[in-house]
């Protein structure tokens, strides 16, 4: 269903990303196999968006390498930086950016080879009836669904999604989840899914990459991995737990009572 170039089939994405941000240095290393979904999870401001912008080639990294299969996309020491469009990544922006001057349909079809596929996706996500509206005249969730269709309608070699569920209601979340399973099965490419929500990461991710204040912090998700229900506090060292990058040392971890910790 979801098509990709033949060469892409066995290509693993590998990234070691270092970048100075305003209050900390982002320094993470990970790889993602084709057909596997890596959920990058972490508190707000942890550096998640920066990671996928770097993979897309929209952000220059200050150190490290990014490789996809045999291709080197970024290599700071060797001075390599492949332009965005040659990477062939599909990227759903956190702000679900759409072209303001194009209708929903023409947005979705911008990079599609195949009109049938576009129609299929728009119908699946229930925005076929507003296909002629401009983005500023549709609702937030409708815009986000269009951004997802836009990316799923093209041949991507890596799929990057930044909080693609943020404005989606339950049925549309379910649809996207199902669709991602189909993609993983039929056109195995690496998928990176950014979210602030452990629940989402647990349900979707084949692997989970927890990022806190720019570093991989496996302990951060421990408390969330315990069975749902009432729990006491848990203690974890290094790296502020609540996305406070300047806080070091012992901190009390947030303990979710439910998926919504209110």
């Amino acid at each position: 269903m979801y098509r990709s170039t033949a060469a892409a089939r066995d290509a693993v994405l590998y990234a070691r990303i270092e970048k100075d941000l305003k209050h900390f240095r982002l320094d993470v290393e990970f790889s993602c196999a084709p057909g596997s979904l890596l959920a990058v999870v972490g508190p707000s401001g942890a550096g998640k968006t920066t990671i996928i912008r770097a993979i897309a080639g929209l952000e220059r990294i200050d150190g490290g390498v990014i490789r996809w299969g045999g291709e080197t996309w970024d290599d700071v020491d060797a001075g390599v930086h492949v332009p965005v469009r040659e990477r062939g990544v599909g990227y759903v922006f956190q702000e679900f950016t759409l072209f303001p001057h194009l209708s929903i349909y023409r947005n979705a079809a911008y990079a599609a080879r195949d009109g049938k596929r576009v129609e299929e996706l728009l119908r699946m996500f229930d925005i076929w009836h507003i296909r002629d509206s401009k983005p500023h005249r549709v609702s937030g969730g409708e815009r986000q669904r269009c951004a997802i269709c836009q990316v799923l309608a093209r041949d991507a070699r890596v799929l990057l999604m930044d909080e693609p569920f943020s404005a989606l209601d339950a049925p549309n979340r379910r649809k996207l989840g199902e669709l991602l399973r189909v993609v993983k099965r039929e056109t195995p490419i690496p998928i990176i899914h950014v979210t602030h929500d452990i629940g989402e990461a647990r349900l979707l991710g084949d692997e989970i990459l927890p990022v806190v204040a720019g570093r991989v912090e496996p302990k951060w998700i421990l408390p969330f991995l315990l069975p749902l229900g009432d729990l006491g506090g848990a203690v974890c060292r290094r790296g502020g737990a609540e996305g406070r990058p300047d806080e070091q040392g012992e901190v009390e971890l947030p303990v979710p009572r439910r998926e919504y910790c209110l």
């Binding site: 929209l58 469009r85 062939g88 072209f99 001057h101 911008y110």
Partner: protein, 258 residues
């Protein structure tokens, strides 16, 4: 007074200034002479020549200005600030002086060679086009650069992640998104070219049925102290110029998405 009525009052103040000038022209014009001047061969020639050269120049200037403005807005290259700094030159130097500069250029060995090889420009219709191009190209570039500066980069980023080349991003995203500003710049370019007089008369002369554009015809009337004739020609220029612009704007101005 509310802010709203103050703002609208300012709008009308500007209108009244120009409207008043137009109305005072009517004070000098009498019906029959208007038609008589309008329908004379010479006026028709000037009018067609003016509309034609202004349109050709607008197309040319905008065609050069679009990529130039994009380069200035998006790329960092050595000499960028220098290029950027010189764009207001044709505004700072008044048209007559600009025309003189063009003549001076053609009197240098380089310019002379160029004319020998490429054919005469001075005192021909090509001279009109050149003079109008020189007076407008810089400003057109500056105006379009301002438009591009205000288009957020993330739309190009989106296009690139969707596999678009820089050229495709430029053509399918930046230009359509800046459409209204570009049309506005083109309109100003056209208006400026249509009204261009000083550089034109200097480079192309004022030969009747040859290089006499409408602004030159107006000047010649004034030069003969024929105020009535000048007033009639000014009215013709204003009527046709504003009508064309009104039409263009009505046709292209729709479809804001902000």
């Amino acid at each position: 007074m509310t802010f709203r009525s103050l703002a609208i009052a300012c709008g009308f103040a500007v209108f009244l200034m120009y409207g008043g000038l137009i109305v005072s022209l009517l004070y000098f014009v009498h019906g029959p002479s208007f038609l008589q001047v309008l329908l004379s061969d010479r006026t028709v020639y000037s009018l067609v020549l003016s509309l034609l050269t202004a349109s050709v120049v607008t197309v040319g200037a905008v065609a050069v200005a679009l990529p130039a403005a994009y380069a200035l807005s998006r790329y960092r290259f050595p000499g960028r600030r220098l290029v950027d700094a010189i764009l207001e030159l044709p505004m700072i130097v008044s048209p007559v002086a600009l025309g003189a500069m063009i003549l001076i250029f053609f009197s240098t060995p380089a310019g002379a060679l160029l004319q020998e090889r490429g054919g005469y420009v001075i005192f021909t219709v090509y001279g009109i086009v050149l003079a109008q191009f020189v007076t407008t190209a810089g400003v057109a570039t500056r105006l379009i650069k301002t438009v591009f500066d205000d288009i957020p980069r993330r739309y190009e980023e989106l296009a690139w992640t969707l596999g678009a080349s820089e050229a495709k991003g430029f053509l399918t995203v930046v230009i359509p998104m800046g459409r209204r500003g570009i049309v506005s710049a083109a309109i100003i370019t056209w208006a400026k070219a249509l009204g261009e007089f000083g550089a034109t008369i200097t480079v192309a002369g004022s030969m009747a049925f040859h290089t006499e554009t409408l602004p030159i015809a107006i000047f010649m009337r004034l030069a003969q102290a024929d105020i009535e004739g000048a007033a009639v020609l000014v009215l013709i220029l204003i009527t046709i110029g504003l009508a064309v612009l009104f039409g263009v704007r009505a046709f292209t101005g729709r479809g804001a998405y902000v």
